[in-house]
C-alpha cells in the first residue's frame, strides 16, 4: 500500500500538525455530540421553564380564582334554588297565582306550554307559560316587576299591552308569554 506508506511518512514528518489535526477532528466529533446533548438539554430546560412560569402565574392568580369560585358557587346555588320542575305544573302555576294575589291583578288565562329540550350538555331548560292579565297600570306593572324579580328565574318572551276594551274602565290587558328556568 504505497498510499498508506506515503501517509505514514507524512505523519512522521509532520508530527505536530498531525497531532493538532487529529485533535481538531476528535474535538469536532465531540462538538457534534455535545451539540446534540446541549440541544436536548435546552429543549428540556425550555419545557421546564414554560411549565414553571405557568405554575408561577397560576399561583399568582390563586386568590382571584378562589374568590371567583366562591361567587360562582353562590350564584349557582341561587339558580338551583330558583329552578322549577316541568312536571310539577300545579306548583309552577301556583307561583303565578301567588304573584297575582300579591299584585291584585286578575289572571284570566294561565297555561303551561310544552318545553323544548335545552341545548346539548345543558343542565337547564326553559319551560314556557302564557297568560292573560287584567288590571290597572300600577297593578300590572307590579305584577310584571314581581315576576321579573321574584324567586324564580323568568324571561319574558312576548307581551302585548293594551287598554281594556271597556272604555269606561281604566284597566289594561296584558298578554304575556314567559319562560321559567327548569331542570333538564
Amino acid at each position: 500500500m504505497p498510499v498508506m506508506k506515503q501517509f505514514f511518512a507524512l505523519v512522521a514528518r509532520r508530527p505536530v500538525v498531525t497531532v493538532l489535526v487529529t485533535l481538531f477532528v476528535v474535538l469536532l466529533v465531540a462538538n457534534y455530540f455535545l451539540w446534540q446533548q446541549r440541544h436536548t438539554v435546552t429543549l428540556q430546560h425550555e419545557e421546564v421553564v414554560r411549565r414553571g412560569l405557568e405554575v408561577a402565574k397560576a399561583l399568582t392568580d390563586q386568590a382571584r380564582t378562589k374568590t371567583d369560585l366562591t361567587q360562582l358557587q353562590d350564584a349557582l346555588a341561587q339558580i338551583d334554588r330558583s329552578l322549577v320542575v316541568e312536571g310539577e305544573m300545579e306548583v309552577n302555576l301556583g307561583y303565578f297565582y301567588k304573584i297575582e294575589r300579591l299584585s291584585r291583578v286578575r289572571l284570566s288565562q294561565l297555561n303551561q306550554l310544552s318545553a323544548l329540550p335545552g341545548p346539548d350538555g345543558s343542565p337547564y331548560r326553559a319551560v314556557p307559560f302564557s297568560m292573560h292579565v287584567n288590571g290597572t297600570y300600577a297593578q300590572i306593572m307590579n305584577f310584571v316587576h314581581q315576576l321579573e324579580t321574584g324567586p324564580r328565574l323568568v324571561r319574558i318572551r312576548t307581551y302585548s299591552f293594551v287598554r281594556s276594551a271597556d272604555v269606561k274602565s281604566k284597566n289594561l290587558d296584558l298578554d304575556l308569554t314567559a319562560d321559567l328556568l327548569a331542570v333538564q
Binding site: 455535545l34 446541549r38 360562582l72 345543558s122 316587576h145 318572551r157 293594551v162
Partner: protein, 543 residues
Amino acid sequence: MLSDLFNRGTRRSLLVEINSYQTLVASFSQSGNGTTLIESAGEFANQDEGSLREWLDGNFEKRKTWVPAICSYVSPEMLLQRESIQPRKLTEPDYLTNLVREQFKIENPESWKLKLLSPVEGTPIPPEGSVRPALICGMANAEVHQVQQRMLDFRLMPYRLEPGLVPLLGALSERQIHSNDKRAVVVVIIEQEHTLAVILGKEGVHTPTAVSHGFSSIVQSAAKEFAITDDAEIRHRLHHPDDEVMLRATKFVRAIGRELKPVIDSYEMTTGQPVGEIFCAYLPTTLAWIAEPLALVMGRTASTFSCREWMPGVGIEVGPNVPELGPHWIGPLSLLAGLTAPKGDSAPPASTDTERPWHVDVRLSGDLPNTKLVGKRFFAGTLAGTLAALAATGAVLQVYQTRSYEADTVFWQAQMAEKQKLFDDLQRDSRVLSQKTARLDFAYNLMNPPYEMSAFVLNLGRTLPPHMRITRIEGSDARVVINGALREPSEEASRTLGRYLDELRHAPAIGPLFTSIGLTAMQREEDADTLSFEITFKLKTAP
C-alpha cells in the same frame, strides 16, 4: 566547539552518491576561497538505512532543519547515448522527445528529464547550428521523484541531483586534458545484469551498446569455479577476496571482458585513437580487485586514477579524520569539483542549463520544499492549532452551557415540586371553575332578558309628552312596537313626534337597548286634531 563558534558562517553540507552497490556520504564545508573540505565520509549498503540515519545524526547536529545535500544517482535505467541531432530543431517542443522515443524505444519520454550535452566539452547544446553529435542524458521523473523523496525522508534537501556518470566523465576528461594523454579512457560500469562501457576519446564521449553480462555473471562464474551453490555465500566470498579468488579472478570476469574487447577494438578501428586505461566506476572497495583482471582480459591496463592526487587540483581537501578515499569516490567527489557552496537556508536553486560543464541537474523542483516550507509548516501548524483551539473552546462552551441549563432545569424542577400540591389544588379549582362557568353560561343564555320589561314600560311612561296617549305596547325577542295617538294639530304633532323620537333615542335607559327607534306609521284619525302613530324599536340582541 570553539572553532564552531568562529565558523558560524560556514554551513556543512552533505554529498551523497547512490549507486547499484552502495550509498556514499560525505559531509563537507566550503571556505571563502572556494576550497571544499571533506570533514567526514561513510559508505553504507543501500538497504542499511539505520546506519545511514545514525551516521547523519552523528555528523549533523541540527537534524531538525533541512541539511543541504548534493546528490549523485547512478541508475541502471539512466539514458546516456551519443546521437546525432539537429540543434536547430530543438526549438520544436516535440523534437527531442520524438527522437528519444524513436531511437531508444522509450515509451513515454514526456515523463523523463532529458538534457543535451556536448560530448566533447560537456556543455549544454544551444538550439542552433547544423547536425552535430550530442550526448543525450536523461532520467525518468518517477525515478528522480523516488530519489528526492528518499532524500527528504532523511531530512536532506537536495540542492542538486545529478546522474552520477556525467560528472565522472567530466572529471576523467579533465584529467585526460591535464595529463596530456592522447589515448582514450574506457569507463566500465558493471551493473548486476549488464555492463556499460563509455569511451572518452578525442571526439568526446562514445556510448557503445551495453554488454549483457554484469556482476551476476561474475557471481555465476565464481560459483561454478568454487562449486558453491549458495548465492549469498559466493557473494560474500567475492566481497572478501582471498588469494584463491584473486588467482582465479580473470576467469570470473572473462565473460564481461570477452564481450567488451570487440567493442573497444571497434572503437579503435573506427576512430584510429588508441584506448589506454580501463576505469571501473562505482565498484566498492571490496570489489575493486575486479578492475585489474578485467583490464587484463581486455588486453588493457587498469586505471591508476587516485583521489589523493586528483582532489587538490579541483579544490577538494580531506579532513584529518577522514580515511583514505578510494577511486570509487571520484564519482561523488566530481560533483564538488568547482562547486559554489549552497548558501545557508536559501531556497534550493532551480536547475539551470548555464551550469558547469559535465553537470546536469535533474531535480524536480516542483516536488521539493522551498524556503516557504517553514512558513507553510508554520501556517499549517498555526491553522491546525487555531482550529483545534476553536474546537476546544466550542466544546468547553457547550459543556458549560449544557451544565448551566441542567442546573437551571434542576432548580425549576425543585421549585415546581415544592409548589406542586398547591398547583394541583389550583388546577382542580380551575377545572371546577370552568365547569361551573359553563353551567352559569347555559342559564344565562337561556334566561338573560335583553331588557327588563317593567322598567322599560315605566321609563316609556316617564318620557311621554303632553297630549300623547299609548294604546298598545307589543314586545318580542326582536322588537318592541308601540301604538298611540297625539292630540295636536298635524304640523305640531309631527314636530312633537320628531322630538319624542330624539328623546327616546337619547334616553339613557332606552336608547342604548335598541339599534334603531323609528316611526313606522302615522295617520290622521277621524278627529282632525288627533294623529295616530306607530313607533318600532329594534332590539340589539334581535336574532
